[in-house]
Symmetry: C2
Subunit: 388 residues, 2 copies
């Protein structure tokens, strides 16, 4: 097992009607002037935003508002948020929404305490501080409610890039599964796929003898596999929504990933895909992950066999472990298909002739991507081709 | 799933030689005058204490020392620690040792900021504040390095009682698996049993549809079952020690227990046992747990069957689930026996004729203990008898 640090100081407030505690929580974490950040009108129409505002007002907390975050959140709105925050001396960013809103809020939190261009942090500049962020999660997927990460797409070139630091872990996150019940099946499924990817990107590792994190990863995957179909057939199944919601957090706050090398090549390749076509992140992952798995399988056939047996309940073929390994990948494809997800380029609206563009935008040059297998530009091209 | 809060703000610093970062970490968390708290001479003899002191000195941090913590830590030393802390204006307690040392340090941290008797908090007084505690863990078992709990035995009557609050979660915990390699097999085994108990006390619940925490619990148990025997046969197996060490933390920081009722009756009954005989906590649990399981089995046969199948790999007897359930309990007994642990009173040095005393000390009266099954005094007596 590798040496590691693990720090997940977020205060999680989970369950029914917990959003009514927002004001109290902002106060607890030192907020006095809040920027409420959200996406589309759904949080307005559902009355959630009103409940949140009431809770803030009841606690005597001043707030400004900025809506309009889109999936694959853009730099333009981040610049606007930073401007408001600086002008109004905002000291707390409150994200009401899914991963995109939270990621955008984290970017604003970074940029408000920085004199330069916030995008610097997404180009590798070292992060030192950020305003505290609180979240009220309405979509189980990205894990941003407990993670140290944020992903933003810059409108100049549609570059999708990530920034990571412990100061970006939310001060508090309110997780009310009821808020996720109105989600359409497609978005629910995208969320499940995203969560599974967060686990699998930690699972496929060259680090040996990490049984505890292997088992935690497998446990989270098994839960998602058990609960996601329940939600698809009954969107109001509170317990299934609740299980998915906690799974989504644990999948990405790194409890299940410490002490081992992880591999984010699939995520990176998907970022190029959703950057170019503006498809849902989860849908892009559903297409890219099996292609990546098939391509890197030979790196550790037994690990893929373990995945097949422990996660998908495949019977181990002791004469031919590769057969079992391939069966695991096939089961993954069947599962995400059963959720209504695409598993090939065409289903996504992506085109084979764009592959050179995707490879070029990834901007690898002579560098490599990933760690389980270090992928060259040529490798990436082949993986995109496998996804066609 | 039940509503819950989850807050585990401890900064975990895991791996080889990480104790050399102690000074830096104390500084990061605001400590300027430290009380180093430890147990027997082993941390002195091994040179660990010297390395820790050097790290503090290098960081310019003043410290006092208080050794002598014993297993099932006593109130007497806590009073002494509080006196030192108050006299010397200590602002940070540093525990170097296992769960007993950490629990004792937490008690000192509580008492230093309180004018009354620290024992009040172990008798139900509401906790509001405590000095920050840092830990350097040398024994994987109690999970106190990440938990909100502390258990102290009062010398007046040998009462063993717990106190719990989020302010008792350590500010940082250094987990270096190498430090656990010198542990004798008996203590290692006791640790594994304690960790398993922390998981099982969360696992056996009346809360329905908590798949994610079920699966996390099972994953942790599977890891311990896989790794503990490796450590018993090769005490210097770093990776196995490391897996156990992270499992011990996750088992008890509540990641795997949120959203569900848990049941601590076995722990409570063991407390009476180790209070009276001063046996190792893990050894007492190895005896009490199977007795408790057999007694409460009928409450939810299918949950015990799930435990047998998923954790112990038993084949499900669909005609007779109770048979499978009992097989799981048997496998647990076989496993802890294989680690050299006692599973009956006699092996522990406990006596059937003391059962009335054990029941009386528990002090239930007309109250009940536990939640999976609410146990009366009569139930407890029967469970102790099953353990004979």
């Amino acid at each position: 097992m590798n040496n590691f640090n693990f720090y997940s100081p977020t205060f999680f407030v989970f369950g029914k009607e917990r959003e009514n505690e927002t004001g109290k929580l902002v106060k607890r974490f030192g907020g006095t002037k809040v920027l409420i950040h959200y996406g589309s009108g759904s949080v307005v129409k559902s009355g959630l935003l009103d409940r949140v505002k009431k809770s803030l007002s009841d606690a005597g907390i001043w707030f400004a508002e900025l809506g309009g975050v889109v999936p694959n959140p853009r730099s333009g709105l981040v610049y606007k948020g930073i401007e408001i925050s600086k002008n109004e001396n905002i000291d707390f960013i409150l994200a009401v929404g899914g991963g995109s809103v939270i990621d955008s809020a984290k970017a604003i939190a970074l940029g408000t305490l920085y004199d330069g261009d916030f995008w610097d942090f997404y180009c590798g500049k070292r992060i030192e501080k950020a305003l505290p962020v609180g979240t009220i999660l309405t979509l189980t997927a990205a894990g941003s409610e407990g993670s140290m990460g944020t992903v933003i797409t810059h409108e100049n070139g549609m570059l999708k890039r990530a920034a990571n630091h412990d100061v970006l872990r939310p001060a508090f996150s309110i997780l009310n599964p009821e808020l996720t019940c109105p989600l359409p099946p497609y978005q629910t499924a995208c969320g499940a796929v995203d969560m599974m990817a967060h686990v699998m990107e930690r699972y496929f590792t060259n680090t040996q003898n990490v049984e505890i994190t292997d088992r935690l990863c497998e446990g989270i995957l098994l839960s998602i596999i058990n609960e996601a179909p329940k939600v698809m057939s009954n969107p109001d199944d509170y317990d299934a929504r609740a299980n998915l919601m906690w799974a989504g957090m644990v999948a990405h706050n790194d409890t299940c990933g410490v002490g081992r090398e992880s591999d984010w090549a699939s995520h990176q390749m998907e970022h190029e895909l959703s950057g170019l076509y503006d498809v849902a992140h989860g849908a892009g992952l559903a297409v890219m992950f099996p292609a990546w798995m098939k391509y890197v399988l030979q790196q550790d056939v037994m690990r893929f066999a373990q995945f097949a047996v422990r996660v998908w309940g495949c019977e181990m073929d002791f004469q031919n472990p590769e057969k079992t390994a391939l069966q695991g990948i096939e089961r993954y494809e069947q599962f995400v298909s059963s959720l209504g997800m695409p598993i090939r380029f065409a289903q996504l609206g992506a085109k084979a002739e764009d592959i050179p563009t995707l490879v070029k935008t990834a901007g690898l040059g002579e560098n490599t991507m990933g760690s389980f297998v270090k992928l060259t530009e040529e490798d990436i091209r082949k993986i995109y081709e496998l996804a066609v």
